[in-house]
Amino acid sequence: MKTQSQIQKMLGVLFAISLILTACATPAPTSAPATSAPAATVAPAATSAPAATAVPAGPKKGGKVTLAVWQSPVTLNGLLGTQTVMSVVLNLVTEGMTEVQPDGTRVAALAKEVPTVQNGGVSADGKTITYKLKEKLVFSDGKPVECEDFKYSWQAIMTPNVGIVSTTGYSSIETVDCPDPLTVVVKYKSFFAPYLTLFNGSDLIPRSAGDPKGMKDWAHNRKPVGAGAFIIEEWKTDEFIRLKRNDKYREAGKPYLDEVVVRIVPSSEVALQLVASGEVDIMWNNTEADIPQLEKMAGVKVSAPLQIGGERLFLNMAENKDPSDPKKPHAILSDVKVRQAIAYGINKQRIIEKLLNNKAKPGSSELNAGYFECKTIQAYPYDAAKAKSLLDEAGWKPGADGIRLKDGVKLRLKYSTTSGNKLREDSQVLVVEDMKAIGIDMFIENAPSSVVIGTWDGGSPRRHGNFDIIMYTTNAGIDPHSQMVNLWSSANIPSVDNKGGLNYTRFNNPKADDLLKQASGEPDPAKRRDMYCQLAQMTYDQANMIYLYQRSAIDSYRDRLLGFTSNAWSNTAYNAKEWSLK
């Protein structure tokens, strides 16, 4: 029989061995890349600008680049999918009328120029948009790119019962006319403000794709044909997508590379190691936490343009105990002074320093990047004293335990976000601390994201309005119109009759509704920008939405790859035609 002491002895030995093993092995991830390179200390984390990556002598031709993505696309039909990774792959394959540059400006791709009121591309009422196509354009299969393809794409998007994800914008089109093969005339039923966002990238489907009614079974879904720089050669599900150069690409000599491999590496810890070893050239979608490790790797660069939008707190201004009347004011949060006090009381910089490696910006407004940026709005500064005096003014006086009271009611608010997201949960802790310091008692009650951001019928609190504060990330696209309408239009306050409404703070302001109405009919983007900016200022003053931080779209890549830049508007690989190898 095994004696007690023997077992103890063995356990002791095991424990010792495991200690030694952990001691030997744990530092390996960080020390390995650093020691393998002599010049480790100078590896720069360059936020690269397009100009910096241009190569004077003419880029070298040929070669293969491997791009690691953590998720596998489920479909490559851009009309049927929602994944970001799908857009990354389709960036390599497709091109449409126009595309967005990293600075948020729009340039022509297949169109000769971006239509504007000035160049006659946009009619005075904004309802007719005329595009001129470049000459002799072909898809990668050699078939010409003509007006009929755009018309067909619109019809395909409007096909019922095939699972098209979004018909936004396209459903406002009355007709697409083709006076000649190179002229596309789009007539809208009513003015659609973000008209430039249509007919781009993967929305252009060649008419050879097949009958739209049978879209679910199209060969196109696995092997899309586009006018982009690369062609899908082979797709092994969950493993890789191999693309080769499109010899018929519209810009002569481009792309420079012969091959791009999109490799699915589901574990980001592993992908980091593969960038270190050089087995992959690009890692898509890094987090701020990766940056210290990446900076230590020799021969690895980081590209991190700021993204629009970001993490924010939705403050529910409507009664949350009885949500039957969605416009009835909230007992605590309906007071603008309380909301502003919360905004002043949160130390955003501390969150960014502690949780995001100092690689994010304090959140300011909905319009914090790109063409529509509202530059006059600065983030609420951290000012606890001001927060306290605002609460005093609002009649909330500190109680015995430091938590403020008014008419015997405690200043106590429920603070929810999606559970299981460490960054969110950690930032909640910091916010709760900050709030406690100014006398607000916030208590955390989180739920899975599918519950928090779920549907009306699924009982989502965000929709029903039975919440105080909910926190998550959302963002406007390159054209913020739909985001502005969704968030600030009183017609979008969710209710039984409007289950899909997205105005979760229950912002209800006739002036805002007016501005939105005006913007919806304004064909000049510059004027629209002013209106949105006024609107953003209004919600900033109301502090019904408190923006925590604005993050970057971070990618890392080996320095043997030239011409790589990330584009927060259009995902990685938007400019793959410019990539080349050293």
Binding site: M10, V165, T168, T237, P266, V270, S450, T455
Partner: protein, 323 residues
């Protein structure tokens, strides 16, 4: 015997139906549903309602289940809600990748652990026994995730191939992308993930072989055999081994369906396109039809391997009768 098998198979039918019904219900209790993936600021309420209808999610759950069951009876496993491809295609693309890895790891583990477990038991408390049990203990306790990552750091990042200057072993995938089939290339890709799985399986297999053997070695008939003057080797291999394997067979029977499920963590670490990731992703995306397909296959495998285990018992121990 044939009658027994037939009876067991017939009994399995209501069982599988019951399992599928429970699973179908549980699945729909998961909050969110397939439409959650489509929810983004850009999508309108009308689009969501339209998608709900187009994906067949607006019919009552019992009718959804009935439709699913009737389709299965006709051999139609349905199509993925997310990718729109047939569930059987989704499964068949991965099942061989999974079996390839899991069978190699399974056989590899048995080839090591049976001799190791037997030696360990016959020389109880010897040095080799201590080493074997320690290895088994480690295999069970070290997180696969951690071990896989460490192996990649050692063999991909730190150690270079002296001939090419590139990494010594690939850090994942089944073969070099874009190259023609090569046995050596396949093998190089198999080494790390298979080692991790073998190491993990060793834990269980060594312990069960060892304890099974120890049990048997203390039986009277072993003493009798030794007393007859048979040499130790014959006693162990002829008399003891077959009986000692019963507990291991039970465990193997329980593990068999797992061979088809894939190993999620190993697949994730080594970018292996297998069933584990398919199932995980289908849950993540609330892709009901793929989830149901995988679970149905799983239920069938469990029933079949239970039956297989019972039959093998009979061969190993003739006292077990089928009637």
């Amino acid at each position: 015997m044939g009658k027994y098998i037939l009876r067991r198979l017939l009994q399995a039918i209501p069982l599988v139906i019951l399992i599928s019904m429970t699973v179908f219900l549980l699945m729909h209790l998961i909050p969110g549903g397939p439409l959650a993936a489509y929810e983004s600021p850009g999508i309108t309420a009308e689009d969501l309602e339209r998608l709900k209808h187009e994906l067949g999610l607006d019919v009552p759950i019992h009718i959804q289940y009935w439709n699913w069951l009737m389709a299965i009876v006709r051999g139609n496993w349905g199509t993925s809600i997310v990718s729109g491809r047939p569930v059987l295609t989704e499964i068949s693309e991965r099942i061989f990748n999974t079996l390839y890895l899991s069978i190699v790891a399974f056989i590899g583990s048995l080839l090591i652990s049976i001799p190791l477990g037997v030696t360990s038991a016959t020389r109880q408390y010897s040095k080799i026994d201590n080493i074997a049990t320690t290895i088994a203990f480690f295999g069970q306790s070290i997180p696969i995730f951690w071990m896989g990552l460490i192996l990649i750091i050692i063999f991909n990042v730190m150690i270079k191939n002296p001939n090419t200057g590139g990494p010594l072993l690939p850090g994942g995938g089944m073969s070099t992308i874009g190259s023609d089939f090569s046995f050596e290339d396949r093998l190089r890709h198999l080494i790390l993930p298979a080692s991790v799985l073998i190491f993990f399986n060793l834990g269980t297999h060594v312990r069960y072989t060892r304890s099974g053997m120890l049990d048997v070695l203390h039986q009277d008939y072993i003493r009798t055999a030794r007393a007859k003057g048979l040499n130790k080797r014959t006693v162990i291999l002829k008399h003891a081994l077959r009986n000692s394997l019963l507990p291991l067979i039970t465990i193997i029977g329980l593990e068999l369906p797992g061979l088809f499920n894939g190993a999620l963590i190993t697949e994730t670490i080594f970018s292996w396109p297998g069933m584990g990731r398919l199932f995980f992703n289908s849950i993540d995306r609330a892709d009901y039809s793929v989830m149901m397909g995988v679970l149905l296959m799983n239920a069938i495998m469990i029933v079949l391997s239970g039956l297989l285990t019972d039959i093998v018992y009979g061969f190993l121990n003739p006292r077990i009768r089928f009637d």
